[in-house]
């Protein structure tokens, strides 16, 4: 007496008839589910897209890099380099260069300064680029390619290479090679425009030589950030530990209370991923509440449906429906409502994610591509069906337990 596929198809048909028979009620019932699923799908795909973008950037950087920034650990990545009053200097750099395993180093200065073009002034981040091969390393890691004009040369004085957004978006008129910009009160000639990198931060920076940066900012030996390459055969984590120890000794600081941060690219990547993981968990938690509320909505509707159809249940039992048939009929119906909610939710969620992608691209963050995977869609659909079916369990049980005589008498 097993329940054949044959019957399941019929039950799907019953469920379909019943759900579409009361369109408004069915729609109201599934709102909770589809809001929750839409939130999960959109945020998961944006989150995954964000992660892809970050991973891509770190891949470009390479896994054998170490970054040293002023400010204690716990600051999120580069932010501390801009905000901290504690600085690194040339002595620190000399010390670091002596640590075993340290290869090429690139120090740079980052300062926010007024940038004037014609009558307009904007405050932007100015990067002082190290000379020689260190500068090359920095450009490699960041993925800079010149699009117009030429690269900055070591012997350039008061020349500037600009990010694409500085050229195209920042000022009312486009800034081209040969134009003159005033930075921190000094005139600079634009010699090159970099191609689009895909994140608004890098694309709206201006790059000048280190020496000139020190001159105009009147900093003799301040360094905002040091990047270095670990020699082949050395483990980045070990080298980072040695650097930490040296700097601690020099500054007379205890472990855990450092005024600087040493991070390998892997650590940086994992700390960014951790952060995004937390954001995703919070968001999914909120979405889960919506889905649970949606499930309760389905349960409520199913109780009403069971009650309204008490007589139908009695009739079905009289003409031979076993308890399991009735149970399955109502479970399929509530599962279908869940599934329907999930399907609408997926549609809205994908739409939202693509919308965010378009908006992000419009505001300079072209690297973000919403990552909508089949796994995510299947999971969302399966999950919403499950929520529907689980919510329908109690009402369906109530229906299947009805005695045919009582159900037939029900008015």
């Amino acid at each position: 007496m097993c329940i054949g596929d044959n019957m399941l198809i019929e039950y799907l048909n019953f469920a379909y008839q019943s759900v579409t028979h009361r369109k408004t009620r069915s729609f109201l019932t599934i709102i909770g589910i589809f809001i929750g699923i839409a939130a999960v799908v959109s945020l998961m795909s944006i989150g995954a897209g964000l992660q892809d973008a970050v991973n891509e950037q770190f891949e470009q950087m390479g896994s054998n890099k170490i970054m040293i920034m002023p400010g204690g650990e716990g600051g999120v990545g580069m932010m501390s380099a801009f905000t901290s009053s504690i600085i690194l200097d040339d002595d620190d750099l000399k010390l670091i260069k002596k640590v075993r395993g340290v290869g090429e180093t690139a120090e740079m200065i980052m300062k926010t300064a007024p940038v004037k073009f014609r009558k307009q002034t904007k405050h932007k981040l100015i990067i002082g680029m190290p000379p020689g091969s260190a500068g090359e390393m920095f450009k490699d890691m960041s993925g800079f390619d010149i699009e117009q004009g030429r690269e900055l040369r070591d012997d350039d004085k008061y020349k500037v290479a600009i990010g694409i957004d500085v050229s195209e978006i920042m000022f009312d008129r486009e800034v081209d090679v040969g134009d003159r910009l005033n930075i921190q009160g000094y005139d600079f000639d634009v010699v090159g425009v970099y191609g689009r990198i895909g994140n608004a931060q890098d694309d709206s920076q201006l790059y000048i030589t280190m020496d000139i940066a020190r001159d105009i900012f009147e900093e003799e030996d301040e360094i905002s950030m040091i990047m270095l390459e670990v020699r082949d055969g050395f483990v980045p984590n070990d080298v980072a530990q040695d650097i930490k120890e040296e700097l601690r000794d020099k500054r007379d600081e205890n472990e855990g209370e450092e005024s600087f941060t040493v991070q390998t690219s892997e650590q940086l990547l994992s700390s960014v991923n951790d952060l995004m993981g937390i954001v995703q968990i919070v968001v999914i938690g909120i979405a889960a509440i919506s889905i649970v509320v949606g499930g309760i909505g389905i349960m409520n509707t199913m109780y009403t449906t069971v009650m309204e159809r008490t007589r139908d249940i009695g009739v079905m039992k009289a003409i031979g429906a076993r308890n399991n048939d009735i149970l399955l009929i109502f479970l399929v119906e509530s599962g279908m409502m869940g599934l329907l909610g999930g399907a609408i939710g997926c549609g809205i969620g994908i739409g939202l994610a693509k919308g965010v992608e378009v908006i992000a691209a419009g505001s300079g963050f072209a690297m973000l591509k919403a990552s909508v995977t089949w796994e995510l869609i299947l999971f969302a659909l399966g999950f919403s069906f499950l929520i529907g079916a689980i919510s329908g369990t109690l009402p369906a049980k109530q229906a299947s337990d009805m005695k045919p005589v009582d159900a037939l008498r029900y008015e």
Binding site: M1, M7, K317
Partner: protein
């Protein structure tokens, strides 16, 4: 040779509990119904007529006593086995027609066959033939609310015949119909008994109907009176 009864009630008691009070609806009912009989069960309301129908139709099990369907004691079967048995052996016709409103005439007639696990092709063919038999060949895809009472009851009759049951059990089948339509339905039931050789049991309080029947079982106070 004496025929074996299709339905036999032996000393059947059904006692309902209303709060602390026990209300016996059937008090030791004995009844045998033989194949191809055309029987009326009659009685005023409160006579136990409906309870008797539930027993005969195996919709409910007795508090005491035994009910045999084709010689098998069903008094102790669980609800699902009982459903399977009655779905196969008994066709029900109700006063309120009791069609499923979401389904077409065809869907309603196919319904009992679904629960017996009959294939789609077979269901469709059978249901079409049955609807033609009751004169609704043109209305197969109509839903109950698009049909008259007489038409709905004919769909119900077609549904009752879906699994080729030995017994047709009709509870006040003409109670909601005008007399002309009621007569048409009665003619159909007579036909089922005479031509299709079905055992037909009608529960009614309408003496006009009862008078057409070959045998009348009159209930009073949960027992048969002569």
């Amino acid at each position: 040779m004496a025929k074996k009864p299709v339905i036999e009630l032996k000393n059947v008691w059904k006692i309902y509990r209303m709060g602390d009070v026990e209300v016996p609806a059937l008090r030791g009912l004995n009844l045998k119904i033989y194949p191809q009989e055309f029987v009326a069960i009659i009685g005023a309301s409160g006579s136990g007529k409906s309870t008797a129908m539930n027993m005969v139709g195996s919709l409910d099990i007795p508090t005491r006593g035994s009910v045999y369907l084709d010689g098998i004691d069903i008094s102790h079967m669980d609800e699902s086995d009982l459903a399977q048995v009655r779905g196969k052996k008994i066709g029900f016709i109700f006063q309120q027609f009791n069609l499923l409103t979401n389904l077409t005439a065809l869907g309603n007639v196919m319904m009992p066959m679904i629960f017996q696990g009959i294939s789609k092709e077979e269901r469709l063919e059978k249901a079409e033939n049955l609807l033609k038999l009751v004169g609704l060949g043109e209305r197969m895809t109509h839903r109950p609310k698009e049909m008259s009472g007489g038409e709905q009851q004919r769909v119900a009759i077609a549904r009752a015949l879906a699994n080729d049951p030995e017994i047709i059990l009709a509870d006040e089948p003409t109670g909601n119909l005008d007399s002309k339509t009621g007569k048409m339905i009665m003619d159909l039931l007579v036909n089922l008994n005479k031509k299709e050789k079905k055992t037909v049991i009608i529960i009614t309080h309408d003496t006009k109907i009862a008078n057409v029947m070959e045998r009348r079982v009159r209930l009073f106070d949960g027992k048969i009176v002569k």
